[in-house]
Amino acid sequence: MALLAVQGLRKSFETTEVLKGIDLSVGRGEVLALVGENGAGKSTLMRVVGGYTPPGAGTLAFEGGPLPGGVDAAEARGIVLVHQEFNLAPHLSAAENVFLGRERMRGPFIDRAGMERDTRQALTLLGCSAPPRARLADLAVSDWQMVELAKALNRRPKLLLMDEPTAVLSAPECERLFACIEAFRANGGSVVFTSHKLDEVKRIADRVAVLRDGEIVRIAPAGALTEHEMATLMVGRPLSDLYPEKPGRLSDAAPLLEVEDLRSPGHVRGASFALRPGEIVGIAGLVGSGRTECFEALLGLRPATAGRFRLRGAERALPGAREAWTLGLAYLTEDRKGKGLLLDKGLRENLLLTDGALSGGPMIDDNAERVVLEEAVAVFSIRARDRGAPVRALSGGNQQKLLVAKTLRPGPELVVFDEPTRGVDIGSKQGVYRVIAGLAAQGRCCVVISSEMAELIGLCHRVIVMRRGRTVGEVAGERMTEQEIVRFAMGLEEAAYV
């Protein structure tokens, strides 16, 4: 008997049907992967099973009995959902988050020590060294994901639903997560997860369900589908090469930007590099190596000093945030929800937040803005039926596409993409890569910070590696391989790098 059986499940938001009759079952000890384009309905399906939204029609059965609605009922039966967007309290400690709503008591008092001990244990199991007492706001995004997982596992689930758990993790962290899933499964637990990284789907899933526009178009053992077949099923048309051809590069072009000995307290301890027009430069490094902070410091988003900073050949002070933007230096944040988009506002307000107006004057020109929005929606294939609805109602991947569109306004010369394809489906990833290559071909400079090695190697002309807040090496051409990058990132190769 299946652990979870879903039959004829339908779900609509207002007038649009998001799930159109889903039949699905999950067995005990099984790992099922849900794949599909952005907006296909993966998260919605998980939320219905997890009791976060009621189904429109159809039945849900768990361990043979019907499943009453509501999160509490679902959790009581052993179904726990880890959301795509984090659901944590930033001002509480890791331990407090893990035990939130389930605080362990000793008499009338909260058993803080016990909770912290258990949290440490759970996090260690996940290979995460974050201290249980640390305030969440002080931890990295990858640690947040691990705290979310520890929190979910602490509820002792029989069925664990994970919505894009690896989106914010780098390769070694993913490995530890997979090991944990393996252990969980070995103890009889079942897992349903979504991911846009099809290689990991193939590796850890037993079965794969491909979702397209709210319908399951194929369920098959993971071994029976190649990555390419999955991608084709997802988008409904054959996909060409994922990475576009690298635009030709003028290696003798004068640098657009040069920085020496960039420092930012606590994170960046000496980064030096030069960026030229028309090139795509990758930035690699382990989580915590200061990649994000380095570029935030460079673009005025955090306090910083530099030994020397040159822009278009002219020496000057590091710019402030607004100044950087006026100088044509743009940054796409990795923290979409916290720093990227106003979730309560519509697409237009988000896309045109900075330059708004368009008329050049202080007034907003509605018609011009609508035209720009429709253009962006078309270019980035953003799926949003209701343009006025808050961005919160978009699927995660579509939010990411909107963020890319927003960052590229009005036409920066240097764009730093921090994890640009996080949570973006494979078809749209291809779209984002095309955009980046297109920018470079126009003579703009693109920096790509990514935890996905394949992305860096497939997309970039050269890759700069950071380690512990310093730039420690650079690879290009023949030497641009995963092993080589990892050697620098882990500190196995301490080449003199200027």
Binding site: T16, D213, L301, A321, R322, A324, W325, T326, Y331, T333, G338, K339, G340, L341, L342, L343, D344, K345, G346, E349, L352, L353, T354, D355, G356, A357, P362, M363, I364, R370, E374, V377, R383, A384, R385, D386, R387, G388, A389, K406
Partner: protein, 332 residues
């Protein structure tokens, strides 16, 4: 897919419309109630009286809308008004021997008031934004400072405007054109300007963005500090404008001038549908909110059902109810 995508809807829906019209419905209900309670209520004298009185707090509430929409708070508006009134009168009285009891003196007094409003608002803004003091504490502090300075200048008593000047300045409050009083005209002008700035200008979009998520605004190259300080400056100028219109009626500034105006202004803004935590604001709503508060007071005065002394209790209760309703409407 693309066919449905072509249907561009800009957030209409019955629920949205009702939510937007809420304050208007309440206003209408109050008008009907007033008419039922006392036939004199709908008389032109009474209506114009209520409107003119509401105009003063209304002008202040327009500024408050900006501060709250940007996620700030200003508790000092009542005290600021008292201080501005006192110093403005003092300035005019001082100029009197040199310039005589004429419009020059009055206009210079008005200019001084506006300048002072700018400075007081700027002080609040700098304390909150550059000083990093929580808005509640910073403006609670200046609230004490402003009123106390006025009390000190007035030596505990009152600062009275010279009688000659009083009759010169009288039309500023009591006069009007085509039967519309100047205070009402001023409110109209300020609220139209405010509504345009908040809804139709880039500045307004930045104000709402900062209130919605300050980090997002900062990462979007919005001049966060400057915009936040500006909202407090706007508030200060609005207070000054309201005060300089009110002074001819008052004739004197006392330590009780503008008492509890912060409560009225904040209540009006929240009733009007501006999110108390920032991120969304509408100026016309605040104006409707002020009218609602004014009508309640007026109805209490005209009827003998409830003592008018309980007016403050009504205002306090309404602000709480408005906030509760706001939180209901939010998801989560």
């Amino acid at each position: 897919m693309s066919d449905t995508a072509l249907v561009v809807r800009e957030r209409a829906g019955l629920r949205g419309a009702l939510g937007a019209a809420g304050p208007l419905v309440a206003l209408l209900a109050l008008v009907l109630l007033g008419a039922a309670v006392n036939p004199a209520f709908l008389g032109p004298d009474n209506i114009s009286n209520v409107l003119t009185r509401s105009a003063i707090v209304g002008i202040i509430a327009v500024g408050t809308t900006f501060v709250i929409t940007a996620g700030g708070l200003d508790l000092s508006v009542g005290s600021m008004s008292a201080l501005i009134a006192g110093l403005m009168i003092l300035a005019m009285n001082t100029l009197l021997p040199f310039l005589g009891a004429g419009w020059t003196t009055v206009l210079l007094g008005m200019g001084a008031a506006l300048l002072l409003g700018l400075l007081c608002g700027g002080l609040n803004g700098l304390l909150v934004v550059k000083g990093g003091v929580d808005a509640f504490i910073a403006t609670l502090g200046t609230m004490g400072v402003f009123r106390s300075v006025l009390t000190w200048v007035a030596n505990g008593g009152s600062i009275s405007l010279d009688f000659g000047l009083r009759s010169v300045a009288r039309p500023i409050y009591y006069g009007g054109v085509f039967g519309v009083s100047f205070p009402l005209l001023a409110l109209l002008a300020v609220s139209v300007l405010g509504e345009v700035a908040l809804r139709r200008m880039r500045f307004g979009r930045h104000v709402a963005a900062i209130g919605s998520n300050r980090e997002v605004a900062r990462y979007s190259a919005v001049r966060v500090d400057r915009v936040r300080v500006l909202t407090y400056v706007i508030q200060g100028v609005c207070v000054a404008l309201a005060t300089l219109i009110y002074v001819p009626r008052l004739g004197a500034a006392t330590p009780a001038t503008g008492l509890m105006w912060e409560l009225e202004a904040i209540a009006a803004v929240v009733i009007g549908g501006t999110a108390l935590n920032g991120g969304f604001g509408r100026v016309w709503g605040s104006v409707v909110g002020v009218l609602i508060l004014g009508l309640i007071q007026n109805i209490l005065n005209l009827s003998n059902l409830v003592s008018p002394y309980l007016n403050g209790a009504f205002q306090g209760a309404i602000i709480i109810i408005a906030v509760v309703l706001q939180q209901r409407r939010k998801p989560r």
